[in-house]
């Protein structure tokens, strides 16, 4: 009986693993073609004309900030220096316990403004709204701590006045022409394209001056380099390919642009969502599909947002556990979208993929470990085949990671130093052990925390932009 169980589970797992690899290979090929098409399309676009066009739709940039005193000024200056004809920046001070508001007040000569603020979307109470005396495009909303980013963004959405809103993380750096680039699909088809996501890349190790990135370098720490590979794989393969089929259901909270009326129509960000960015895009898909609207949610791989990633295991573990909780928190309430005609390709391909190959992956992996041990104990483990399969899995995973590096090389080529590229490629060979096993544990922790209803936000240890060139 036990042998039979092991046999069935093995066959199931074999099929699962094979399918997962083949899907990722297919995604890599789709992404490759999509990015080449995008590059060629860009060749016929003159961004400098957009930069001065009076027809460019105005944008409100929303930057929630919680305890960001180290980097908020550089960040705000960077955001205000973005190339875009009509821009409004709203910084939402989400009940910071540090001097975030004070440093903003001193630097931008903020003064209280008794503006009309209508709380149409749910958020914690707003304590005050400030306007700058030296920067008319800046508005600061000071609010009670909401406990999450969604709450802060909703407050910003209530104060926003432009037709498009770009949500960024206050601790991230946008390249100067990022807004122009992320608007490309929207300008090309403003009736259909309702949102667009940009690529988020790892800031650690690079040099920053006055809120602008001056030199892109690979981080020094192994943990951060592995995250660079992960980000390349997730954005340059995953999101690019899913967006090509209009099944993109995550626009990173660090950098995305949305039609404001639509975000309001779906009720803004869900303040109790753990993965608020994933949740919002999924609800937007649901709403638009139910309304039978012809729409697109795009991904643009070249408007780059640089963000600081965890440089210590503890912070990374918290972040990954939270991501997995967020995944479950969105997929479970939207399970009714699965395999329903109303939800089209998203319901029949995109979401099932997320369920099977993202959400349940750690469980399947755990079962895999268990069956190996069981098989070994029962003496039915074929050592030869085990080793063969181990090599195959290792090689395939490495190939996909190198494929992501190749995507970066062919298209955007941000790492100019030879040594960085060689290190990046080398790390593709070393990410399988013990990083993947740790990642499995973190994701299982995410499950555990979700079922225990442990939704407490645990902050990540940050070093700020000043330390960005240390690689630590």
């Amino acid at each position: 009986m036990l042998h039979r169980f092991i046999s069935i589970s093995n066959i199931t797992l074999f099929v699962y693993y094979l399918a997962s690899n083949l899907i990722y290979l297919a995604l890599l090929i789709i992404a490759l073609f999509a990015s080449l098409r995008h590059r060629r399309r860009l060749a016929s676009i003159r961004l400098e004309r957009m930069r001065t066009s009076p027809l460019a739709p105005p944008i409100t940039v929303l930057a929630p900030a919680h305890n960001e005193e180290k980097s908020i000024i550089e960040s705000a200056r960077g955001l205000l220096a973005l190339d875009y004809p009509e821009l409004e920046l709203i910084i939402i001070n989400d009940g910071s316990a540090d001097r975030t508001l004070e440093v903003l007040r001193e630097h931008f000569q903020l003064r209280p403004a008794d503006v009309l603020y209508l709380p149409e979307l749910h958020s914690a109470p707003v304590r005050g709204v400030y306007m700058s005396q030296n920067e008319p495009r800046l508005l600061v909303v000071d609010k009670e701590p909401g406990g999450n980013k969604a709450d802060a963004v909703n407050a910003g959405l209530n104060a926003a006045t432009k037709p498009y809103v770009c949500v960024v993380d206050a601790d991230s750096i946008l390249e100067r022409d990022s807004l122009l680039r992320i608007m490309v699909p929207i300008l090309a088809d403003p009736r259909r394209v309702v949102a667009a996501g940009g690529i988020v890349r790892v800031l650690n190790g690079s040099r920053v001056r006055d809120g602008q990135l001056t030199e892109v370098r690979l981080p020094k720490g192994w943990l951060e380099v592995l995250q660079v590979i992960e980000y390349l794989r997730a954005f340059l393969i995953g999101r690019e390919a899913w967006a090509a089929g209009n099944m993109l259901n995550i626009i990173s909270g660090a950098f995305g642009i949305f039609r404001r009326d639509l975000v309001r129509a779906v009720g803004g960000y869900r303040t109790n969502a753990i993965g608020e960015d994933f949740d919002l895009v999924t609800r937007m898909h649901r709403y638009l599909l139910e309304q039978k609207m012809d729409y697109r949610i795009s991904f643009v791989p070249d408007p780059v947002c640089w963000t600081e990633v965890p440089s210590d295991l503890r912070s990374l573990a918290r972040q990954r556990a939270r991501w997995h909780k967020g995944l479950l928190d969105v997929l479970w309430p939207n399970r009714d979208m699965l395999f329903r005609r109303t939800y089209g390709r998203l319901g029949s391909i995109g979401l099932p993929y997320m369920w099977i190959f993202e959400l349940l992956a750690p469980v399947v992996e755990l079962v895999g470990y268990t069956t190996i041990i069981l098989a070994a104990v029962l003496g039915v483990l074929s050592r030869e085949f085990f080793i063969q399969f181990l090599i195959y899995g290792y090689a395939f995973g490495t190939m996909i990671s190198i494929g992501a590096v190749m995507q970066e090389e062919i298209t955007y080529k941000r790492y100019n130093d030879w040594r960085d590229v060689i290190r990046l490629v080398l790390y593709c060979f070393f990410e399988h052990f013990p990083y993947r096993q740790m990642y499995l544990v973190w994701r299982l922790q995410g499950f555990w925390q979700y079922f225990r209803k442990d939704f407490v936000w645990r902050p990540m240890k940050r070093i700020g932009f000043h330390g960005a060139d240390t690689g630590k």
């Binding site: 004309r49 008794d114 085949f385 063969q388 181990l390 030879w418």
Partner: protein, 418 residues
């Protein structure tokens, strides 16, 4: 979203009869894949490095001969033989032309264009744009636009008929790049007569660029255009209108399409014909909020005391954005601020009063206002009293606003950019 590598799953096939051979083949293929990828990355890096090194050297050499190239003493055949040299010279000519146009050095621009013509670069691009397809054609179309040569217009216009939408977009961009009225005419012929389908903003931008010198060429097309084409052309006119277009603007202001009326309001603000105030006074009562908003913005740009009562009326508009823009416009009326505030108080509209005070404060005019309306010795007291009154009223206003707010509903796509 990460790759599901799941190392332990590699060990799942343990029962006898597993397809071991298949796995061995898969391993071999995967390792070959890895090797190819690595080779590609490193090879490409090496090649690119060599290419840029060579390019730098050629740029340096060509720059040394630049005057000779322009004068013809260095024969074009000598550099056109090499594709890299050809590419570099073309780019340098384009950049030079763009700089000359920007600086208003028309003679220099013509001189550079003549080099493009005599060297055969222009005809090569025209050939590519006519005979090739796909990305090569699109690249040629955009390059032709950069030449600003009148003879490229028919070639670019021909590409507007292409079946591929991306080629049509490239043609529109190319035509826009020329900045020539003839290019605008070609685009409008197709938009109005044949229903050219390309993204609206791209087309608008190109038309804007081409009609800048002669906005009157828009008029005959605008009179014929219907539906979406009319909306689009009126939007362009809204940016370029001149006072002598009053008659057309008058017609647009009475158009049944709200987008067209909004553009008319914009045009009135830009052109400021004699009847501007009267027409804008009508448009601020329009049933569509974005038409009223446009009218208020246009009124704000007109420095005339007669706009004040109209803007004060708009301060009591049911739409929040209209109120805010009206307040913003009024707050910049400088020396007339005190009369404005008095008149706003007379409206007895809490929203209006709140909006104007906020905007005056944003504009930094609050001190001036209080200085004017109260005794200097009691200024602080007056400020505190007024602000206190406002704050006390704010909660009531919020409550009232909540009651007055309609449920939030999504706008149909397409209105967002209005």
């Amino acid at each position: 979203m990460g790759c599901v590598s799941n190392l332990p799953l590699m060990a799942v096939l343990i029962s006898p009869g597993t397809p071991g051979r298949f796995v061995l083949q898969a391993i071999a293929v995967t390792f070959v894949g890895i090797a190819l990828l690595l080779l590609f990355i490193l090879g490409r890096r090496g090649l690119r490095r060599r290419y840029f090194h060579r390019r730098d050297l050629r740029v340096f050499a060509l720059r040394k001969d630049w005057e000779g190239i322009l004068s013809g003493s260095v024969p074009p055949e000598s550099w056109r033989r090499h594709s890299l040299d050809s590419e570099i010279v073309e780019e340098m000519l384009f950049e030079g032309m763009e700089a000359a146009h920007a600086a208003g050095q028309w003679e220099e621009a013509v001189r550079l264009l003549n080099v493009l013509r005599t060297s055969g670069l222009l005809s090569t691009r025209m050939h590519e744009a006519s005979e090739y397809g796909g990305w090569r054609k699109r690249r040629a179309l955009v390059a032709l636009g950069r030449t600003r040569a009148p003879e490229v217009v028919p070639v670019l216009a021909g590409a507007l008929e292409d079946e591929d939408p991306e080629t049509r977009v490239a043609a529109v961009r190319g035509l826009g790049g020329t900045g020539l009225a003839a290019a605008a005419t070609e685009m409008m012929d197709r938009v109005v007569g044949r229903g050219l389908s390309t993204p609206g903003l791209t087309l608008q931008n190109s038309l804007l660029h081409c009609c800048q010198g002669r906005p009157e060429i828009l008029q005959p097309y605008l009179r014929q255009a219907q539906g979406g084409a009319r909306e689009m052309l009126s939007r362009v006119l809204g940016e370029l209108a001149t006072p002598d277009m009053e008659e057309d603007i008058l017609l647009l202001a009475a158009d049944p399409l709200p987008e067209v009326r909004a553009s008319a309001a914009r045009a009135l603000g830009v052109a400021r014909p004699v009847a501007a105030l009267e027409l804008l006074g009508e448009l601020v009562k329009d049933k569509e909020w974005f038409v009223r908003l446009r009218a208020v913005v246009a009124l704000g740009s007109i420095e005339d005391a007669r706009v004040i009562p109209i803007l004060i009326e708009s301060l009591c508009d049911e739409n929040r954005y209209v109120r805010l823009r009206a307040a913003g416009a009024l707050a910049h009326m400088g020396p007339r601020l005190e009369q404005i505030v008095e008149k706003v108080i007379e409206t007895r509209d809490r929203f209006a009063l709140h909006a104007i005070i906020s905007e005056i404060e944003r504009a930094g005019g609050i001190a001036h206002l209080f200085g004017a309306i109260s005794d200097p010795n009691r200024r602080e007291e007056a400020t505190a009293t007024l602000m206190q009154a406002l704050k006390a009223g704010q909660e009531q206003m919020r409550t009232a606003a909540r009651g007055e707010l309609r449920p939030v509903t999504a706008l149909k796509p397409g209105k967002a950019g209005s």
